[in-house]
Point group: C2
Chain length 323, copies 2
């Protein structure tokens, strides 16, 4: 499919030219894909359109409420399919495979977007896809309601690590200011996503630090989280979020790698974060993955220690390449 890049104004026009809209989110969804999708759904309904979210069975307990009341009923036939915050069809849920090659519009902020949709609204500088949805609201002539603002706050706050990561933009802060003024209980969101740690989470963090492995003079740090351990402490999906960010905090670390064992034994979801100038997306691309310059992912299979060492070696190799 030939992909066309559209402006925000064109995307807004496209959305209002159709009805019966289905909005897709990515597998192992984060606050941005679900928050942005929820907000977009509400905005389209404010415009009098019929819009629904495709159900997302991967949604963790703290994100699942973003789907409530908006998911497509059985037998719904969409006339327009929108993918939100999805960089590639490889990140589709299995239940969304039927829409491969059939996405009309993708709204995204990942520079690694593969251009799988017929048209794409892409801003690689945006802190979150939520910024694009906020911009679309203005172009649609809408003042988002409180629920849409609550969802947008989740989108921008989670993707910026509560306005802390290097991708934080002035717009992300201004959206947050508007959300507070719109009556969104941002502290409840902050507490849930950034402050509250379950006892299981604490045990996971301690495990990680007890088993962390360093390479290249402490510049690369990598850890493996085995499924057996996670289950033994009763960790939920939310407890396993953002662990690579934690490893990244260690003084001197320029590349943090977390291998998290998936349900299929011997398969690991990799979360990788970097400091400038190292490019996380480039490192993950070597293993068929991708993402952003400072945060990316991939999936690897094999022996945990060998995979961990392999990823660390690639990080070191790219560190030594001339910029």
């Amino acid at each position: 499919m030939k992909v066309t890049t559209v402006t925000a104004a064109e995307a807004a026009a496209r959305l209002t030219q159709h009805n019966d809209i289905l909005i897709l989110t990515h597998r192992r969804p984060d606050g941005d894909t679900l928050g942005s999708a929820h907000a977009l759904c509400r905005l389209l309904r404010q415009k009098g359109l019929r819009a629904f979210l495709h159900h997302n069975e991967d949604a963790t307990p703290r994100l699942a409420p973003l789907l409530d009341g908006l998911t497509a009923p059985q037998g719904f036939e969409p006339h327009f399919v929108v993918a939100v915050d999805i960089a590639s069809e490889d990140l589709f849920l299995a239940s969304c495979d039927v829409y491969r090659g059939k996405v009309d519009l993708c709204i995204d902020h990942h520079p690694s977007n593969t251009g799988y949709a017929r048209e794409v609204l892409l801003d690689g500088q945006a802190a979150a896809t939520g910024e694009l949805i906020w911009t679309l609201a203005g172009l649609l002539g809408l003042a988002p309601g409180r629920e849409a603002m609550h969802a947008l706050y989740i989108a921008v706050a989670t993707d910026t690590g509560c306005f802390c990561f290097s991708n934080t933009t002035p717009l992300a802060h201004r959206i947050a200011a508007d959300c507070i003024e719109a009556g969104v209980d941002v502290h409840a969101v902050n507490r849930e996503f950034f402050e509250r740690k379950s006892h299981a989470r604490f045990q996971i963090e301690r495990r990680l630090f007890d088993t962390l492995r360093f390479y290249e003079n402490n510049r690369v740090a990598a850890a493996v989280l085995e499924r057996d351990f996670a289950e033994s402490v009763g960790a939920s999906g939310d407890d396993l979020d953002n662990l690579s960010t934690l490893i990244m905090q260690l003084d001197g670390v320029e590349c943090a790698i977390l291998l998290q064992e998936l349900p299929q034994r011997g398969e690991y979801k990799v979360s990788l974060r970097t400091q400038k100038p190292l490019n996380a997306s480039s490192i993950c691309a070597a293993f068929g993955g991708g993402g952003h310059a400072r945060a990316a992912g991939c999936t690897v299979r094999g022996d945990a220690v060998q995979c961990r060492d392999m990823l660390a070696r690639e990080a070191v190799r790219q560190m030594e390449m001339p910029c």
Copy 2:
């Protein structure tokens, strides 16, 4: 001294009616007192006034740069003394004792301000004193330079825990947005204050969690950090910052108490944080301290375990009081 509350406009007028201004900051200074003082000093100099910061010998390595080049020369005789972010003369440095009863203007955001200055600009709703300085900049007809903006970013970001705590306001976010647009390297600040953890810090955190004591069904959590342990891991002042925030993260905890042993053995600086509706300032007031509703402090003397239990008992007592 009879204290008069002034508006921001009156404070701005007062500042420009005088020259040879000395700006005081509190002992064990945080990002808000030093960041706000630095910004105010630069703004007054932009107005063509002679303004200096009183040296602050308690400044930790990561905050000390805020004093560089702005401290009062030996023999400087101020004609106007301004206290920034200081709630009480009890929080004066010993070297500032000479200014007790002599502060002309206090600019602060602590509801517990004791009214020790001749005039006070007080906004108990502000996320940080930095917001007041930013407002003063506008009233003084100034666009703050990048260094002032950098200092203001430190002020608002640290006092809100990187826009995470419940005191975060729309204005704090908008100041941050302006700072990013003014070219402040906010990520360098975020990394230094919120992301980077020294290896000493990690050991301190693990010690805390290994020795944490719970009360009242896990609703109160308290820990003691002995000076010997802190010294044994080579912890600096910066490594010991915000530890009570960490304890507060544990699921179910409504009051987090940290006792940190001071140089005088048997004396402890207490940092106490609460969830609504429990009032941290009220709990600390029972021991001669104060602060904000969600974060406050005091100093206690005696046996560590007894002090810890005493503080926890007061927290529980106030929990059980009808609201």
